[in-house]
């Protein structure tokens, strides 16, 4: 609302007379709290025009009279009278008459402190004349000019300025060093990248060589096989039944060993389950229902349900174990299969035997057995219980075997080399940040003590929490990717402004009791050393670390690129 000019003439000027104009000896008589960039709005000494609402004009005497007239607060640069004009305030119609503008924009950044001897800055209006000397922003103490409650803030700019300059100088120096370090990192990273590229080249040449060798060996193998087939092979144990017996014996032995293994594992697992069940049942008896830990209660409830379905007690079966004992005994003429007999069986019987067996079985059952046998075998192989078996090996001649082995060896070597190439290529495709700088930091570990833990961050690898009082280390996450987070920063006038920061994200760490798997977001900021500054648990088992590193300092990439570019040309 526009105040009719002249009316305010009558307003008591008691407050204004001291407040309107700050004592000033730099020649430019700006009202108290006005920064030089806003001086132009306060030149007319009769009328003041609200900065963002030029339609509203008030007598100049209403400037800094400790009463808020302008909807943008511009008439009170030197008091806290307009501090309530904020989106954080519960404003009423009377606070901003005539303004339905919901977007509150203050035209001034705050109370301007000249801070002679230091650097000028703005203090938020809500801190003006609140009885606290805000030396961190206003070293000259001018924010407390009204001396409320006897507050007296002497000018400390000389010492604070000196201190600041000292620090600033140090900071500058540190920044220079940091940049230098960053360049070293970049160079390092460039070199490492080049190494990878060279490795790929080298490996590809090797692969080419091996592939030629492979062709030769394959040809050899074919030749030898041809020769073999033309030979007539007879031998005492070369009949089909004898071969079958040999194969079967081998297989039975393998299965027996596997069974023994599995049984041993079963027993071990069983005793572990038993141990755990004992722990849990003790836990159920001894836990404190009032400890208000939901996780504990949930675990107890789950345990009760689990226990209701039966525990490991019921799993043991003596009869079955006796059977198994019997089965795993080695074969001899008294128990199991007498292999001797089969291995020496005459050739002629072979067909009979096979026919005899099959004749007595319905075809469907034969199919069924074959299918089952295949399925079981496949299962065992997939699970690593049985090694895959090369079919014909048992009956091959040495020459063929050797030739085949040679082929296989080369094939494998090619496979290995290709995998290496693949890994390297993947590595090249991985995001290591601008200039691949994090390549140089990968695996570098830094630690910090905080409270009862030591925290460790290994760049692009993992984060850890190591308890000081003993106990096991908790992995707080494995490296996932380079990301970015937005941090709320305060600008010069105390406003919140979002700022992008590079972050390193770690996830799938150890799972928390009654919570998620631990994860850590490492937020990076420019600093001379790699250093953990702060660790916070933002929510249960979700951590954030603030880490200094030269790697994210601004600049440096061009220089190094130019340099490495030149090297490339050489």
């Amino acid at each position: 609302m526009i105040l009719p000019q002249g009316l305010l003439f009558f307003v008591s000027l008691a407050a204004c007379s001291t407040a309107v104009v700050a004592a000033s000896n730099d020649g430019s008589a700006r009202p108290r709290g006005v920064g030089p960039e806003f001086a132009k709005f306060y030149k007319d000494t009769d009328t003041f025009t609200c900065i963002s609402h030029p339609a509203i004009k008030i007598p100049f005497s209403a400037v800094n009279d400790d009463y808020c007239d302008c909807p943008d607060g511009s008439d009170e640069p030197g008091t806290s009278a307009c501090a309530h004009l904020s989106r954080n305030s519960p404003l009423t119609v009377a606070d901003r008459p005539g303004s339905n503008d919901l977007d509150l924009t203050l035209s001034l950044p705050g109370f301007y402190c000249k801070n002679k001897g230091h650097k000028p800055s703005y203090v938020p209006f809500q801190r003006v004349n609140d009885g606290i000397c805000d030396y961190d922003l206003c070293c000259d103490g001018s924010d407390e000019w009204a001396r409320v409650g006897g507050t007296k803030c002497e000018d400390k700019c000389k010492e604070i300025g000196k201190e600041w300059r000292k620090k600033e100088e140090k900071r500058q120096k540190s920044m220079t060093t940091a940049l230098k370090k960053k360049k070293e990192l970049l160079t390092d990273a460039g070199r490492q990248q080049k190494e990878v590229e060279e490795n790929i080249n080298r490996l590809e040449i090797q692969i080419q060589g091996q592939e030629i060798k492979l062709k030769d060996l394959e040809a050899d193998l074919e030749e030898i096989e041809k020769q073999e087939r033309s030979k007539v092979v007879t031998g005492k144990k070369a009949g089909k039944v004898n071969v079958l017996a040999q194969v079967a014996k081998g297989r039975v032995e393998e299965l027996r060993t596997a069974l023994a293994e599995v049984r041993k594992e079963r027993d071990e697992t069983r005793s572990r389950i038993k141990e755990l069940e004992e722990i849990l049942s003790k836990f159920k008896v001894e836990y404190n229902p009032n400890f208000n830990d939901e996780g504990v209660k949930r675990a107890v409830r789950s345990w009760e349900e689990y226990a209701a379905r039966g525990t490991s007690e019921g799993l043991e079966n003596a009869a079955r174990d006796r059977d198994l004992d019997e089965i795993v005994k080695p074969d001899d003429d008294k128990s199991g299969v007498n292999w001797e007999q089969w291995e020496n069986e005459e050739d002629g019987c072979e067909a009979n035997l096979v026919y005899q067996l099959a004749a007595y079985l319905p075809p469907s059952l034969v199919n069924f057995i074959e299918d089952k046998a295949l399925a079981i075998r496949g299962f065992l192989e997939q699970n690593g219980i049985l090694p895959t078996k090369d079919e014909g090996s048992a009956s091959e001649s040495k020459a063929v075997t050797e030739a085949r082995d040679a082929v296989d060896a080369v094939r494998k070597s090619i496979e290995d080399l290709k995998n290496q190439v693949k890994d390297h290529k993947e590595d090249l495709d991985t995001d290591y940040g601008v200039g691949s700088i994090f390549r140089a930091l990968k695996g570098v570990c830094i630690q910090k003590d905080a409270g009862e833990y030591t925290y460790e961050h290994c760049f692009l690898d993992q984060t850890k929490q190591i308890p000081k009082k003993g106990g096991s280390t908790a992995r707080m996450g494995n490296f996932v990717r380079i990301g970015s987070v937005t941090i709320d920063q305060l600008n010069e006038s105390g406003e919140i402004v979002p700022e992008e920061r590079i972050s390193l994200e770690y996830a799938k760490g150890q799972t928390c009791w009654n919570g998620p798997a631990r994860s850590t977001s490492v937020v990076l900021q420019c600093g001379e050393e790699n250093e953990i500054l702060k660790i916070a648990e933002d929510e249960k088992c979700v951590y954030s670390m603030l880490v200094n590193t030269p790697a994210v300092c601004p600049g440096g990439e061009e220089d190094v690129h130019a340099a490495s570019g030149r090297k490339d040309e050489l």
């Binding site: 007239d69 345990w303 919570g515």
Partner: protein, 966 residues
Amino acid sequence: MAGRRLLSTRWTLLLSLVILLGCLVIPGVAVKHENFKKCSQSGFCKRNRAYADDVAAKGSAWSSPYELDSSSIQFKDGQLHGTILKSVSAEEKVKLPLTVSFLESGVARVVIDEEKRLNKEIELRHDSQARKERYNEAEKWVLVGGLELSKSATLDSESETGVTRVLYGPENNFQAIIRHSPFDIEFQRDGQTHVHLNNKGYLNMEHWRRKVDTSEGDGEQNSESQEDESTWWEETFGGNTDTKPKGPESVGLDITFPGYGHVYGIPEHADSLSLRETRGGSGNHEEPYRMYNSDVFEYELNSPMTLYGAIPLMQAHRPGSTVGVFWLNAAETWVDIVKSTSSANPLSLGVNSKTDTQSHWFSESGQIDVFVFLGPTPQDISKKYGELTGYTQLPQHFAIAYHQCRWNYVTDEDVKDVDRNFDKYQIPYDVIWLDIEYLDDRKYFTWDPLTFPNPIGMEEQLDESERKLVVIIDPHIKNKEKYTISEELKSKNLATRNKDGEIYEGWCWPGSSHWVDCFNPEAIKWWIGLFKYDKFKGTLPNVFIWNDMNEPSVFNGPETTMPKDNLHYGNWEHRDIHNVNGITFVNATYNAMLERKKGELRRPFILTRSYYAGAQRMSAMWTGDNQATWEHLAISLPMVLNNGISGFPFAGADVGGFFHNPSKDLLTRWYQTGIWYPFFRAHAHIDTRRREPYLISEPHRSIIAQAIRLRYQLLPAWYTAFHEASVNGTPIVRPQFYVHPSDEAGFVIDDQLYLGSTGILTKPVVTEGTTTVDIYLADDEKYYDYFDYTVYQGAGKRHEVPAPLEKVPVLMQGGHVIPRKDRPRRSSGLMKWDPYTLVVVLDKNGEADGTLYVDDGETFDYERGAYIHRRFHFHDSTLSSEDIGTKGPKTAEYLKAMASVRVERVVVIDPPKGWQEKSTVTVIEDGAKTASTAAMEYHAQPNGKAPYAVVKNPTVSIGKTWRIEF
């Protein structure tokens, strides 16, 4: 947090196993009913209910065995003495001494004891060391005054035989009619009975008797008594056996309120304000309301189940009249409530019908000690009850601002970080709290050396913006060698003892613990010493105390508390004192915090979870471990309102909900509700996500900030309401019936509230997705929207008020002057010198009234006149400020210090149209040579919204007498 981390590694394997086995179930969130007794599991509750059922069943065939011996009656100096005889058998009559005291305040007190026990002529079983008397020292902890006997009370000589009448009260228009046989007492006001004791004949004093051991075969002998003796001598619950060395000694009494349809009070229960019937039926409870202070984990809502605190004050209300009773007994107590409606004419349903409310009280031990209040207004009850049990302590000013709590801020750096963040986001707060994790190994009066290496530095940072720290100190002391406090507790013999007289050992946060026995004067003395700065190292004067777990909570005890046969100082059994246990601990802490070093006398601030009548003199309370649900948000309002009318108004619920994570909307609405709790604190369980308001994304962050700033803006009004509570006992936030006692439709409303005497009426949103609320208006005054002055008018109706997420629905009732401070600051301490805004809300007659109380907010100097107390009055186009304080030796000094604090703005809402022409007002301040002028602007508003006028800078001092002529 430390504990959980250790746990986590230890149990990860187990959890993985459990997950592997695929049997994870989502837990139902519910109280463990099996941990707490139902009436049928509590011997005396069952017996007294059975007694009542038996009496009711027999009807007129039954007569009460209690008879006042007419020859024993003596009346002297406002007190009537006599002996009630309880007929046990034809030959045996038990003598029960009766004292009825008529107090100067108009309150009557009825005490019934038992002669044999009083004279210690009984034998205790099990060689018990317990006291033989019925517990008669509750008043030592609870009452502080108001016991002056009436000089004018007189015996009415014209009483008929068998009846004694005593006239008392203001102008002797109260009357107690004591009938001798069977014994009962009617309390009348203006010739009408309002409170009737033993009307139904449920009076029951279980006299002492010797245990008769029934050997097999002669079981017949006992059956003639027809009483169920199974719970007389021993009771077992949850694996714990109560040896009951004194045998059955419960007391019971029915109290009828004829013509009263609503009863309120007897906190603490998570239930509606208007208490429900408890004998079953639709919408009623099955169980009586229970008062046995307990640490109830995940308590359920709309339940008569006991909670952490108890105030056995009940008030009955009907249009135009409020009466009440206060049952002073510290033992476990249950109250049954039954209402009966009788119609004068059965054909005219509802018309002239009369509802009586009958309450039935019974306690496990102790005396019958009942105070009867005859009103007639709710304010009278507040005042008289406060005279007896004390008024709310005038709190430190910071204590009514915003408190930021969490279990836990994990390091001193964490605390400092949170502190900085509030400033960064310009959200005010005054107090940050530390839950149990700050301790070294859960030992009170220590700091964890790893996580809190520098508590002083942390407190200094807080002090820079006048902020405070509250740390938790509980009554369980870790049982550990080389822990000085534990060793002193034991060597000085200051702990609670078990039934055999040995130091009692139980489990709580620190594991094995002992409990300091604050009934012992030596223990109090010792406790006071522990808080001295040189003893409680790492604490500055800006550190205050949170007393939790003082029910007491004992993790492995029966019903999570102490065995009833434990012994306290003076050999009183725990059963006798259980409900006052909590406040004895608070009392010790209060005395410790009064003067932490010589000469530094300040008002303590203590938050307590457990309480009893009288706690208001020393502490604030919160409603314990609630949950982040809309239902818990909703129940917080009746709970806080109920505490307010029950004399303990400094109350609040955990903003955000303690357990679980609130949604952003719920958290926002909870802040908008929490700003109306007298005690305004956000708190969260250790397993929840961080939820400090600045962490919530926009727009919620700004909305929450606005809510908190609204609380800060109104702090002058809040502090004035606290002052009123401190002298009159009035609630700080008031329910509908209290403000409009004649408007029957408002008697059940417990989801909207008035702030003090300011006329501010709010109905916080407590349901999800709501965009409007219906505010009920009882009177015909105009009400104005707090923010845009939209007008609502119409008595006995609900009015729809917009309430989108960003808006707190608040109205201002016409006829009030509301003091505010509009400038946002970092903390309330920094608002001390800020100017005031006065909002003058005119009523139908163009008048308005309001008060303001101001003092230093910290010391007791106000007792010597260092305060400002003004009445603002607007009539005849003039706003005046008038001194209503009393001068004292420190008045002048204080006024001088406050001289610079002025009124910066006067907003007049709904001024006469004629003011459009005005642009100035005349200001006349006492002591000024001439009148001055201030500018005024009149603002018209669109239809439906009231116009308003703003006076700019009248430059009047808040402490001075002045007037502004419009």
